[in-house]
């Protein structure tokens, strides 16, 4: 990657129709776009926004699950959860690196997350009051993320596509461990099964919202599809997710909290009830139960870590100076 050379560089491009057509021809030929290639400013901005948001989601996503590490019911569950949360941190780092190749600095992205300027997935603004939430998150939230991320492995921007390949390889364990938690609870005592159903009731609709607004209301959809940043529409991916997960719920005897959910023989898909988009926008705009806690936690982590960053840099400088003196 060429990131360091690009930071702060003027990446404006002469966007004549000829330039845009030539760029589109490369995209249509399935060529990967690399960081120093000429690209329309809109393409760069879209990717910075999307990859940054994706990275922030991984990092903030560590918080709802981290909540249960000290209270995991067995050692097996605890080591799995630690490994999963550690993976999410790693995914955030791969993605920040990919965004940095586009000329935005890590410090700038962190600042935008902490100030509320940059968004992250609204799913993480829901609380995790019970152990079953950890199962539901792995099964549904990571499941929805996988549906979204698999097509991103073929995204036209090389560094993003490569980061997604790594992420997808690791993500499959997350979903399986979550489903296994749900399965065990669903086969347990009445209280355990109720806990699993309660978690499913709370996570189902927010999981469907993870795919974003309906295609007709999606403001960035068409251009992203043309540039092959996105490969499938929000609604197509959401439908795929529903069709995959409904039988999984039935298999363990749980019920999706949607009275309108039914198999449509003609379409070969499930029909579902209306999604509460007012809730979605309320949570995106900061009105979720946990929005404030999440940012407070990230800010505390950043501030509390300041002395470590300073000390590490001071130590590196001192060692470098000593080495120069010795030569």
């Amino acid at each position: 990657m060429y990131s360091q050379g690009l930071i702060g560089a003027d990446s404006r491009t002469e966007e004549t129709q000829e330039f845009l057509d030539a760029f589109q021809a490369r995209i249509d030929a399935e060529e990967k776009i690399e960081p120093n290639d000429p690209m329309p400013e809109g393409y760069r901005r879209t990717l910075v926004r999307q990859i940054g948001q994706h990275a922030h989601s991984e990092i903030v996503g560590m918080l709802p699950e981290g909540n249960w590490i000290t209270r995991a019911p067995t050692l097996k569950r605890k080591i799995a959860l630690i490994a999963k949360v550690q993976d999410e941190g790693g995914h955030g780092l791969y993605l920040y690196s990919a965004a940095e190749t586009l000329g935005v600095s890590r410090e700038q992205m962190t600042e935008e997350l902490l100030s509320g300027k940059a968004k992250y997935s609204s799913i993480f603004n829901y609380p995790t009051p019970t152990w079953a939430d950890i199962g539901a998150i792995g099964w549904l939230v990571d499941g929805a993320a996988i549906m979204n991320q698999i097509p991103l492995c073929r995204c036209s921007f090389g560094p993003y596509a490569r980061a997604m390949i790594r992420v997808c390889k690791e993500e499959s364990f997350h979903q399986r461990q979550g489903y296994e938690i749900m399965m065990q609870l669903a086969h347990g005592s009445k209280a355990q099964k109720d806990m699993a159903q309660d978690a499913l009731n709370r996570w189902w609709w927010p999981s469907l919202m993870m795919f974003g607004p309906h295609d007709a209301d999606s403001e960035h959809g068409d251009q992203s599809m043309a540039w092959k940043i996105k490969r499938f529409s929000n609604d197509a991916l959401r439908q795929k997710f529903i069709d995959a997960t409904v039988p999984q719920a039935e298999f363990i005897g749980l019920t999706m909290p949607d009275p309108d959910l039914k198999w449509n023989e003609d379409r070969g898909s499930y029909d579902h009830g209306p999604i509460d988009w007012d809730e979605f926008w309320r949570v995106v705009k900061g009105g979720g139960r946990m929005n404030r806690d999440r940012i407070t936690a990230r800010k505390k982590a950043w501030d509390d870590g300041a002395w470590v960053r300073e000390a590490a840099l001071a130590h590196a400088e001192k060692r470098a100076a000593r080495k120069v003196a010795a030569e």
């Binding site: 990657m1 690399e34 690196s97 890590r106 410090e107 690791e170």
Partner: protein
């Protein structure tokens, strides 16, 4: 005062003995030893390798992508550099 930036490093990993180190990504670290430790945690959580190189990103010199064509086209018309350019009768056997 804005915080000083922690330098960026490129990470290369050798999956097993006998293979090349391959670029896997980048990370921020204050110095080389911290970069190696972070690279282990970020890029080898599942036995992806047995050796790590880290290189300061600022030290990498790259060819210019905008002159990629002129840079590499001298090789395009030199088919005689490939074995299939030479006709050898089948009777000679594998060569």
């Amino acid at each position: 005062m804005p915080e000083p930036m922690t330098p960026l490093w490129e990470v290369f990993i050798r999956p097993r003995n006998g293979l090349h180190h391959k670029h896997v990504g980048s990370l921020h670290a204050a110095d080389a030893s911290l970069a190696i430790q972070s690279a282990r945690d970020v890029y080898t959580r599942r036995g992806e390798g047995n050796s790590i190189w880290v290189v300061p990103s600022a030290e990498i010199v790259a060819s210019d992508p905008s002159s990629g064509k002129e840079m590499f086209d001298p090789a395009d018309d030199k088919v005689y550099r490939h074995p299939t350019f030479y006709d050898i009768p089948d009777e000679v056997g594998h060569m």
